[in-house]
Point group: C3
Chain length 330, copies 3
Amino acid sequence: MATFLSPTYSSNPHLPFGDQHTAPFYGKDILSVKQFSRGSLDYTFAVAHEMRVMVERVGTFDLLKGKILTNLFYEPSTRTSSSFTSAMERLGGSVIPINEVHYSSVAKGESLPDTVRSLECYADVIVLRHPEIGSAALAAQYARKPIINAGDGVGEHPTQALLDLFTIVEELGQVDGLTVTMLGDLKYGRTVHSLARLLSLYNVKLNYVSPEILRLPSEIVEEIGQKNIPQAEYTTLEPVLAQTDVLYVTRVQKERFTDQAVYESVRGAYVITPEIMQQAKERMIVMHPLPRVGEISMAFDDDPRAAYFRQMEYGLYVRMALLAMVLGKA
Amino acid sequence: MATFLSPTYSSNPHLPFGDQHTAPFYGKDILSVKQFSRGSLDYTFAVAHEMRVMVERVGTFDLLKGKILTNLFYEPSTRTSSSFTSAMERLGGSVIPINEVHYSSVAKGESLPDTVRSLECYADVIVLRHPEIGSAALAAQYARKPIINAGDGVGEHPTQALLDLFTIVEELGQVDGLTVTMLGDLKYGRTVHSLARLLSLYNVKLNYVSPEILRLPSEIVEEIGQKNIPQAEYTTLEPVLAQTDVLYVTRVQKERFTDQAVYESVRGAYVITPEIMQQAKERMIVMHPLPRVGEISMAFDDDPRAAYFRQMEYGLYVRMALLAMVLGKA
Amino acid sequence: MATFLSPTYSSNPHLPFGDQHTAPFYGKDILSVKQFSRGSLDYTFAVAHEMRVMVERVGTFDLLKGKILTNLFYEPSTRTSSSFTSAMERLGGSVIPINEVHYSSVAKGESLPDTVRSLECYADVIVLRHPEIGSAALAAQYARKPIINAGDGVGEHPTQALLDLFTIVEELGQVDGLTVTMLGDLKYGRTVHSLARLLSLYNVKLNYVSPEILRLPSEIVEEIGQKNIPQAEYTTLEPVLAQTDVLYVTRVQKERFTDQAVYESVRGAYVITPEIMQQAKERMIVMHPLPRVGEISMAFDDDPRAAYFRQMEYGLYVRMALLAMVLGKA
């Protein structure tokens, strides 16, 4: 469904959670972080927190019993797919896993709108992963059932950004007042772009630490700057580590480099180790969207500030919340 | 199980639905449309209609709770596989999806009878898709559990033919008296052959519209002719469109042509557009087994006569009915 | 979890089943047959037998309702994967199937410990199939959730060995006093090695029948010899068939031979036929881990002594038992 959340929705974020908050999500698509105001983030995270409490207490419960999710993945993403599958199963629902879409009707030339309209009668909600930007919005334009964007190429991956923000909320209690430092590949990192946009809804300070060739795109810096968020760029972590509350580490992906010599020169430049982390606060967290390939030393994994595996778990709760919300059961 | 429905079954199609109708399906295989008489079609569609009502009312219900379906697909078919998965889940049952059979035991040289006998202990019913004709019958010969044929190469795909016929019944109320026009590739189209055979059980008029090289095989024309069904062949749609109640469009598949120049010359010859459809009745339906690749203009999709996406949904109800019937729960 | 069963556990195998038997399995990993004493085997098989009774009586029951299994398969194994899926579903639990791990995070260079720690938050127990020896133990070292080893390359496949032994117990009533003859590829056959080790906990007589180049490795012969188990090696079946209670046939795998001429010379040397089996006892069983490719004639399949398809079914009960045990519900 293509209709975004009503803009009047975010104008009243301080009302107690009720119809004015839940109704806008029921039957809606989740396509972009731009759909979320502070009010709807508060609501989403409140639901996600309830999901966490319920999972810790009873593991699984029947909120979505009888509901079916189609996991329509045009490219493999074990982690995201598994997370949505688990979210649906922990809510008592069922899943239709579709990972072979390449070999089948699509290979015969079928369009995405046709595939979605064919498959939607089997499910109550569709999670879509597709390599092309705008594909989730295109699918939503034709589908009668809610579409949740699980990554559309270089476009968006809103549930990743939401789980990143939820991790900060759950681990540190709030977002306002925090200093968030983003490290690594800030040019191509879709997760970093979406998270930065979401963070700009709060009173935060943003530091960007990257090699010169992997700086955050200027349009994003400008967009965030318009919201009066203090931003600063660095090429080394040292100047900002001590003041950082959230260190968001990203992988420098080999496939982003045409010149492999350049890749080799930067790949090891921002490795987080227990030694380096001695300069950081005692109460702060290190995040990573995973998978990592050496950006964070395994020797740091047992440090309580290492939040990256817990981050995966917060993703489960956020996805449970979103499924319940679009199906009108939150 | 290899035993077909008892021939005495079809001799009494007007009895109220009861044991004489349900018993023959319980524990049986669904291998071919040839197993179906008008009586058993009536029964199947009555169950499928009940499934539709239940899905529309409650979404999912526990008729097959605790039952397990193995979806054994030797070749990918996202749509058919998803449809059976959804059917089983909407009935409260579970699914074992097997799509990787190529890489595994079969690659080690295991025979189909061994694979089926190995896997059947894990499930209550097996849906089999296999590229070779006769494979479903072979599997059924060895299996103790019911086998449902989901396509055996150039052989049969009975649940597709059943859902096609059920679509006609649900959309137009009855089959007797209708004029059904089949368009496109009538030579290689397995779905067209099976549907034509099923339609010959009713008082219908059949029109075949195709390029010369893709005419309906003469043995099928003869088989249907023996039942005194009026049949007529055309190379253009124009002469028959106005009198058509059901227009069944099929895809002209590129892979059927050795000479690509011939393919290019015919592919665009039978495209359905809103303009062409102005000549058709107001109350008629356009069907397509999907996927389509241009045979029907997307501009026609919003026309109420465009039944091809609803057709997918009718497939869900037919498969729910068949699963319930072979498991003795209809 | 890396902690093996306490060695004190096996010292008291004759106590009635109770906490001293169940507690050691709760939350534990199943990595190797070496974890099992006669006492814990007795317990496991008692639970597996209960599972058999329940499945025969009601098909499916809700012992593990709300629990989620992640089936993490780095290499395809349709049979093992399906068996665990069915086991979980027959117990009312759910499954997250992961078969595409190659194409995803792992392809990006993620380590097994990271993959396991990322995925474990979605499930309550992980079944792991991996091509490298020691991988299950490595995963268990990092995971908080129980790991069940479903094959780690040339390492172990403990649930296969357990189901083999359970088959003997269920079919013949006991293990002590039996003569077990192993036939075929005894050098590379992982299942044979594990089964021989388990059998050495009982008072059995072991015969090994193989081509010279596929003899049981001497270290295994020595290990078993230290337990005073009578062992004898043969190159033909004839001298031992008449006295055999369990004939365990294995496939001579083509891929084990560098010289295909040698493979061709031995592949047909140990084929079981109805004629040969006339020399065997009336009450004995023929087993095979499957798939077979001609080592047992299909003409023998209907003989009541042919236990190989029933063996698959016993695997279901053993895996149900193990899942229930590690999740504390046995």
